[in-house]
Amino acid sequence: MKIEVKNLSFAHTLDKNLSDNTINNFNIEFEQGKFYSILGPNGSGKTTFLDLLTRFLKPDSGKILFDNKDILSFSRKELAQKIAIVSQDYYINFPYIVKEVVSMGRHPYIGRFFPLDKDQMNIVNAAAKITEITDLMERKITCLSGGERQRCVFARALCQKTPVLLLDEAFSNMDINHSFNILKKIKSEIRETNITIISVFHDINFASIWSDKMIFLKKGGIMASGSPEHVMTEKIIKKVYNVDAKVEYNKFANAKQVYYNIT
């Protein structure tokens, strides 16, 4: 699925006189089957942008098109079959069994009173396998650690079987082993099923390893976008984060990496 963002603007405040839009006149296109990462300092509009893509927030102006169709024309359920998100708030107050939480990812596809049939359960179990929570399926979600919970919510998003998957710092609480394993599997999924991933990262080095394209945001605007080789430069990092850094190709990582000096 191709995503086009045209002249998108959004402000959290209602006061029109304040010109500090959270998202300021975005124009960008996402090709099918690519891994995009979104980077930028706190408050640069990363999460807001993802919320606009899922229509959790409505833009003040501009449009978002999925395969040339305005997202406003889809029903909530249709939208949930096209785009899924692993969001930052994965806190759950009620003691659901993990299996129940993951199964909710099938909600866009089933009726009100129908339990999941065998095919549906296969999808649920496959998603659980990807995020490595098969052993946790019978546990209560409230008894799990932050990282484990994040993996459950991740599996729920995978159950939606959407052509686009948004990750909002979806690895923030996971250990390196788990995040690497999940990302590896997702990368191969991208190749097989041609899905698009748009992921918010804080770790520039981590993003550089995985992404086809990096998008740097600052104060609601797109500062740079392109392949890591092109946009991951000392100049852009200085401009976006106001930090002096050295960027070098690292042979072991097989990608560009950033180094900092604190003296």
């Binding site: 959004f10 959290h12 209602l14 919320d51 899922t54 229509r55 959790f56 927030l57 409505k58 029903s75 909530r76 359920k77 939208l79 949930a80 079959q81 785009i83 899924a84 998100i85 969001s87 708030d89 994965y90 806190y91 759950i92 107050n93 009620f94 003691p95 659901y96 069994i97 129940e100 939480v101 909710m104 990812g105 909600h107 866009p108 009100r112 009173f113 919510v153 729920r156 998003a157 939606q160």
Partner: protein, 349 residues
């Protein structure tokens, strides 16, 4: 045997619902027999059958007074009580789901304070048709409060749902605080009627009529059907707005429907029987410990369990205790400590 057991555990919801329904029916019959005049179960069965089948032969040997006691005095009270218990439990389940908070109850949004304020005005103004006007005023008070709270907590239409659970809870607390000050003021103004106000606030099922039964049970039926229809959406909403929205729930629409449903159930309950605490908080909480948090199971079982439990409490105060104590006081006195125990136990696991 083994297969039967398996089927039983698999369909635990159905089993539990049947168990509580059976208990409720037993409670209704036992409660009808108890009171100032003792009546045998056989006579009660006959009178109820007579009312249903209209076969006069059944009650040929039962004196007129017994029939009147059962049909016109005890049954209306018992059925109103059961319906209110069910309504409060369903309402509590809805609010706990919407507000993402297992400790919310039907009165969190200030609906009870609104109803109480309306009732106080009716009592203070001593409005002519006494028995009609108090519930009607209470109902109007409750509904106005609900809309005020929804209005206060609704932010701009930019965010997904329009209201956050925090905003709803805060607005509810503020409005309830203002209204309780208003109630205190009315009490201060009330002079002689102050005792009427106080007794109304403490809740009672005394002298309920078939009108009350029909009013509460029709609200309960419709409210319950809507809740069941939206049970799955409520499950998703209880995971958080963003999650629910991305999973295909139209949260703005669903939250308004569920809020209004829950509040109407609370409003009709308070209007008919005053403020009865802890049923709406405790029952869904206890049921959830057995069934897990899936609202498709919690809602029906809570409704039946709530009806049975409130009827049990009302029967104690009506027929067992020497002096009738207000039902709201009794539920708080029993429910409060029970809740403390469950609460402590549930988070020690």
């Amino acid at each position: 045997m083994n297969i039967k057991l398996k089927a039983l555990t698999k369909n635990r919801t159905g089993f539990l619902a049947a168990l509580f329904a059976f208990l409720l029916i037993v409670m209704i019959i036992v409660s009808s027999s108890m009171g100032y005049v003792d009546i045998g179960f056989k006579e009660i069965g006959k009178v109820i059958l007579w009312k249903i089948t209209n076969n006069a032969e059944l009650v040929a040997d039962i004196p007129e007074t017994i029939r009147v006691i059962i049909i016109d005095i005890r049954l209306p009270r018992i059925l109103t009580c059961a319906a209110v218990g069910g309504a409060l439990a369903v309402s509590g389940t809805l609010f706990q789901g919407i507000l993402l908070n297992p400790l919310a109850d039907p009165y969190t949004l200030g609906v009870s304070a609104g109803a109480a304020f309306g009732a106080c005005i009716a009592i203070l103004l001593n409005l002519g048709a006494f028995f009609v006007s108090i519930p009607v005023f209470a109902f109007i008070g409750a509904i106005s409060t609900l809309f005020l709270v929804i209005f206060l907590s609704g932010s701009s239409n930019k965010t997904g749902s329009g209201f956050s659970s925090n905003n709803l809870i805060l607005s509810g607390i503020i409005i309830a605080a203002i209204l309780s000050a208003g109630i205190s003021f009315l009490k201060y103004m009330a002079d002689e009627q102050v005792s009427v106000i106080i007794f109304w606030l403490m809740g009672s099922f005394a002298s309920k009529t078939w009108t009350d039964v029909i009013a509460v049970s029709s609200f309960l039926t419709i409210g319950f059907l809507i809740s069941i229809l939206y049970a799955k959406d409520l499950n998703l909403i209880s995971l958080g707005e963003k999650a629910a929205s991305s999973l295909g729930v139209d949260i703005k629409k669903d939250m308004v429907i569920l809020l209004v449903t829950g509040s109407l159930l609370a409003a009709i309950s308070v209007s008919v029987s005053g403020i009865i605490g802890f049923v709406g908080l405790l029952i869904p909480h206890m049921v959830r410990l057995i069934t897990g948090p899936d609202n498709l199971k919690v809602l029906p079982i809570s409704m039946i369990a709530g009806a049975a439990l409130l009827l049990f409490a009302d029967t104690i105060t009506r027929a067992v205790l020497v002096h009738e104590i207000p039902i709201g006081v009794l539920t708080a006195l029993i429910g409060g400590p029970v809740f403390c125990w469950i609460f402590k136990k549930s988070h020690q696991k």
